[in-house]
Amino acid sequence: MNITQPPADVLLSLNNISLSFGGVKALTDISFDILKGEIRAIIGPNGAGKSSMLNVINGFYHPQQGEVWFDGSIRGPLKPYQIARQGIARTFQNIALFKGMSTLDNLMTGRITKMHANIFWQAIWKGKAEKEELEHRERVEHIIDFLEIQAIRKTPVGRLPYGMQKRVELGRALAAESKLLLLDEPMAGMNVEEKEDMCRFILDVHDQFGTTIALIEHDMGVVMDIADRVVVLDYGKKIGDGYPDEIRNNQNVIDAYLGVAHE
């Protein structure tokens, strides 16, 4: 296996991933990698298999073929929460916040992989439990300031407007302080201002925390602006991979988007 060992600067690499549900092929023999510290965009028309791609990356789906290397080691058959613990956080296409909880609690839950006080300490709310709670609260408060959501700290997220929920969800993912951050259409359904805010947040996250980011986005403009490299999927196949301007001039991609009939 060590032959295919990816170079050190690669954070995640996917080799010949194929995934299918029953007969339906969702992904066919896809390979690409994500370098440490880059912003990697995954684009493609609807139903191209972008979300399936993310689900493979954070282990919610298990591909029938292919292997996943993360942080220099090949991934065995792990459960999603174990992969989260390895340092992959994500947001979801249609918001998956914990509606019953406050913004604060949602963010704190984002840090759950980093908290370890056992049940007895928590029961009496002393020692390790309290200490841990406070220091993590501190970190979360930074993110709250960073995302400018102080005002809704104690509000149940169910009551928040859509844009805000998107932001809180980003916050929850940031709270995990992961090595790799997956964003599934972070700007879907947003108006221009909201999109600009979101872009700013993503870039700031990238600069400030140096987080590696993989994002799915439909808005070409946005993608071309913020992404370092772009991979293009269509019908579960990879039809393009490279720097934004390469992609811009890639014939397959143009066809795919303009919808030229597939021979």
Binding site: M101, T109, A117, A129
Partner: protein
């Protein structure tokens, strides 16, 4: 009254995270607790002990337990009666086999045993969800009751299968049996309830509580951001069963003193506790108590008014009580679907703004 949080600022996170952020609440709760621990023991008599306070405390405990599982972790359970039976029979077996054992320990151990059984019957929850999960817990309900009724070892081979608690003392004061003074049994149960209410509060505001609520609100997302579902669900089952086991043990050994599974721990008990937490408020500790009060004390209150007060025929009063309780349940749901606790919360909001609503 002036119910304000203005000028009640938090300078530290720990201050912000405390159980009762508002000063007024802290004082109120302090007063109530002081009253409960210091004053009530001097006023209490047999009637108040056996008909009002012990039932409330015991059922409050059970409701608290179920609320952890159903209200916080979102796992519907109809096995409460069965788990209470486990607690009761555990306490009976333990205290009859080790007569010297301190009653506090006996009760706690019974809780432990129940927690174990709870985990066992919680396992299907990993595969079965929502209403369907109820079947697993119902299986527990009926099977456990059947078991305790069938296997003579559980009731020490007594002729009829009734279990009767022998007299046990704590610090030389009888806690169980007929010679136990009302204040003693009351304080015994009250201590358990208060201590475990605070433990519940601590658990639910920390990591474990969050993982429960995450599973409740969106289990898939929870797993993807790193909440292990197995751990979360089973821990909820364990803690919840622990509470319910304790309430069962208290129900049998302190409150009733004698019990048989079929009648004392039937399915109707499981429903009763479920009603309590829904009417009181899912995912609210305070709600558990309000719900218990509603389902247990209200009928007694009505009965005392209508029979004791107006001297109406007892059976007719019983029918009226059923209709009244039913009517009230529907009424409150229409006024505030999320339970009495929520109703209380909303009232508080209003009070804060009073007299300037805008």
């Amino acid at each position: 009254m002036f119910y304000r949080e203005s000028g009640d600022f938090k300078s530290t996170y720990s201050a912000d995270q405390q159980t009762f952020p508002i000063k007024f609440d802290r004082i109120a709760v302090g007063v109530i607790l002081a009253f409960a621990f210091v004053v009530v023991p001097f006023l209490i008599n047999d009637y108040w002990e056996k008909s009002i306070l012990l039932p409330f405390l015991v059922w409050g405990m059970a409701a608290l337990g179920l609320n952890i599982l159903t209200g916080y972790c979102g796992q519907v359970s109809l096995g409460t009666g069965g788990f209470m039976a486990v607690g009761a029979y555990a306490s009976y077996k333990i205290t009859t086999s080790f007569p010297e054992l301190n009653m506090f320990l006996v009760i706690l151990l019974s809780g432990g045993v129940t927690a174990f059984v709870g985990i066992l019957f919680g396992l299907p929850s990993l595969r079965i969800k929502g209403f369907y999960l109820a079947v697993a817990t119902l299986a527990a309900q009926f099977f456990l009751v059947w078991l305790f009724n069938k296997v003579p070892w559980f009731y020490n081979y007594s002729a009829s299968g009734m279990i009767t608690v022998p007299e046990r003392t704590v610090f030389g004061i009888a806690i169980t049996g007929s010679n136990s003074p009302p204040w003693a049994t009351y304080l015994f149960c009250l201590t358990f309830l208060v201590v475990f209410a605070f433990i519940a509060r601590n658990l639910t505001r920390g990591r474990i509580g969050r993982s429960w609520m995450a599973i409740r609100d969106m289990d898939i997302a929870a797993e993807i951001i790193g909440v292990p579902p197995l751990q979360a669900k089973l821990s909820a089952f364990a803690v919840s069963s622990f509470y319910i086991g304790i309430s069962g043990a208290l129900f049998f050994s302190v409150y009733l003193g004698a019990a048989e599974p079929t009648e004392a721990f039937g399915i109707d008990k499981s429903f009763l506790v479920l009603f309590m937490i829904i009417i009181g408020g899912l995912g609210s500790i305070f709600g558990s108590f309000v719900g218990a009060a509603f389902m247990v004390l209200l009928p007694v209150l009505f009965k005392n008014i209508m029979v004791g007060g107006f001297g109406w025929p007892t059976d007719m009063v019983q029918h009226f009580i059923f209709m009244l309780v039913g009517g009230l349940i529907m009424f409150f749901l229409i006024v505030e679907p999320h339970g009495l606790a929520q109703l209380w919360r909303v009232t508080k909001e209003k009070l804060r703004l009073w007299p300037f609503p805008h």
